[in-house]
Symmetry: D2
Subunit: 238 residues, 4 copies
């Protein structure tokens, strides 16, 4: 299996401002995600956070990243536009992007979708059931029918995104809402997966099925060997 | 507004075999649907049922139908293949098709999707909430955010259909299931809408919001003025 | 037929800097487009250009525009970001947008697609044939099979856009290239059509079939009566 | 790399009725395709033809096939419906299907699309250029920008298929026509690729780039490890 280079990006602010969240994720949300990706095999993992120089996303890091995962929530506005622009450029050139939970409101996701990415929400210990709507999809490898997360934040439709290329999971919540909770988009040579679960106050990223989805997703997002830049510009006839 | 010619097709067997259902729909499910479509204005409505000669779908009827609605359940196998084939041909030539509830298993829907159209189900008085996932879509004209149906049969994912062109509504049910309950497909020059609600033992088709969706859907399904047959076959260069 | 309010936006710089183009479009490209839209009936037309105050796109103008058409080429960078942002917001709230020819590189189109929108090109009097790939689509009303434009600029694939919701036309050019020349996207409550032809040095917008496509497109892009803003934010259970 | 089991199906009648075609493909079209797939590595290849018992597609063969390739032309009507039905069932259960050239009119492709699959055509030594419209797609691995086939049969739009999940290549022909020449669809757990080139009177399947596309396509069509049948039927609440 070829080695896959993943950079796990995390805002990392909740872990600094809340004792409860620091206790839940003592290595940060990024540390938890990095750990289970490493354990999956065939994946080299680095982490980067908002408060690192250049948010940890230097040209060198981006150039050597096959798939970037993105978790952010309380500080989307603190991400520099110039770095968002560089990440977008890398996705269009083939880098995979896995956007997680409240990352729906990140600058990078909004830049790639063109929409507000707004939604309904509620923090009320809803049970979430993620139903599979594309069985056979690589993201569902090793999983069957649905996943139950005992307690999660509710996200509800309308989720203001473009019609996805593929809708892989749809969630229901205790309160009766539904949400397209795993969707894919192609932009340029790159692919994007949005995966909903992962509120900072719940142990969601410790749940095995959630980890399996994310391991599958980063593998699915790996650029193909063919990553030659397309030919544009003024051209003579064939 | 141009006049729209709708044929409401119903299997019509439950109404004959069950006193309860006959009492709920004394003019048949087709009679109920025909009545509210007529009241909507600008629509000429005919009905046809399985036990009519040629199932009520003669060449003359099909040729003068802009949109066909289809409800069937217990007798899909009794629909003649030759008539299914004629309906399919008319859809590909531009006729709109509104497939309702248990019509998901009809021969005509399976012929147009190419899939099994299978799903999970339960008769247990679930509450259904239909959430809108494509606000601004013509099918949602005059409606806002979601519809609640107090009691309905449950249909659950995985719903084995091709990736829809548009997913307009997604339902949740009391038992925690979800379902893509209003979806559209283009096949040839024709468009297809599948709309989930309408179990025979509930008064669903008397609910105003459900009627509004169906009125909107038949208008949306109207063929455009441009209905010239495409040009196929052996052709000289331009 | 309800009245449709269209604003025809044009950069308007070629007409000022080139005598040839000024001679071809003495009222500007916007003047030519506005004239045939007016003649189509049922459409109220205004024009706006880059060099108008606020580019002619004040809050009042945008708020009373159902469909905006956009032609730009040599001065995309001169369009103020704040106005691009307002136009994007209006599209997401339901306004239709018809992007024309070199408008593929406009800030507004790139903001809504999330991609570079780059392509191949050549100015060499290629003949363009636009083949219809979605017969029955409202944009093709009154037209059949294909359109030939005797001389046009060539645009060739790869066209770096997201997978379109619908591909309505594909062009070939004398030099052997192809291009998805009429495509649709939904973003928020609004719809977008990109239509390729219209290089400033050719009389393309005087050709009847091209005019018919654009008349059809603005009608197709009209927002539905249902334009209620979606409900977002913190919500109680149903 | 896991071993991939491909069955190459060919009608095989042209090779029997025409000396020219027998000379061009002395082992049959299936023999040519089987040979280059074998050479690609990691693929176990079998062949099957129309005139074999059960067309070579016994239950045992189908059950042990990961990807089926299909070439047919003059004898689509001789393929037994019962076998078409079994192939369709296997695709819906996860088997990949690569439909080639005049296979567009095969019973199996029409059953899976629901449309007529009709098109324009001409045998006149047109040059075909296949332009890539989804760079980064696995089917394009190792290839860049476009492929030129010196002489081929022309296929022209409108190609009566559902809107593809992905449009990977679009062709132009000397006569000015265009064609969506590599498209993908998902049906059930299976994926389908249609790839246009391969007229029996030209040496198309000997061209290296064409072979590369087909090698990539069968790899892309491999079912994921997750091939558990979806859960359908009467279900209790979660």
């Amino acid at each position: 299996m070829p080695n896959l280079r993943v950079t796990v990006w995390n805002e990392g602010r909740h872990e600094k401002s809340s004792k409860e969240i620091a206790a839940l994720y003592p290595q940060g949300i990024h540390g938890c995600i990095a750990a289970f990706l490493k354990d999956a095999g065939g994946i080299t993992v680095r982490t980067a956070t908002l408060d690192d120089p250049e948010h940890g996303l230097t040209d060198e890091v981006l150039a050597s990243t096959d798939v970037l995962t993105w978790w952010g929530h309380m500080a989307h506005g603190d991400v520099q536009d110039s770095i968002v622009h560089k990440v977008q450029k890398r996705v269009l050139a083939g880098m995979g992007l896995l956007v997680l939970h409240s990352g729906h409101f990140s600058k990078i996701f909004k830049a790639l979708t063109g929409t507000t990415c707004d939604l309904k929400w509620r923090e009320s210990d809803d049970r979430e059931i993620l139903w599979f709507t594309a069985p056979g999809h690589p993201i569902l490898t090793g999983l069957a029918d649905h996943i139950v997360i005992p307690k999660e934040e509710m996200y509800g439709e309308f989720f203001d995104i473009p019609e996805p290329d593929e809708t892989v999971m749809i969630s229901s919540f205790t309160g009766g809402e539904v949400f397209r909770s795993c969707v894919t988009f192609r932009r340029g040579l790159g692919r994007i997966v949005y995966f909903r679960p992962g509120h900072e106050s719940y142990p969601t990223y410790y749940q095995k099925e959630v980890q399996q989805v994310m391991i599958n997703a980063v593998r699915y997002l790996t650029p193909t060997a063919h990553s030659a830049a397309p030919i544009f510009g003024n051209r003579k006839p064939i």
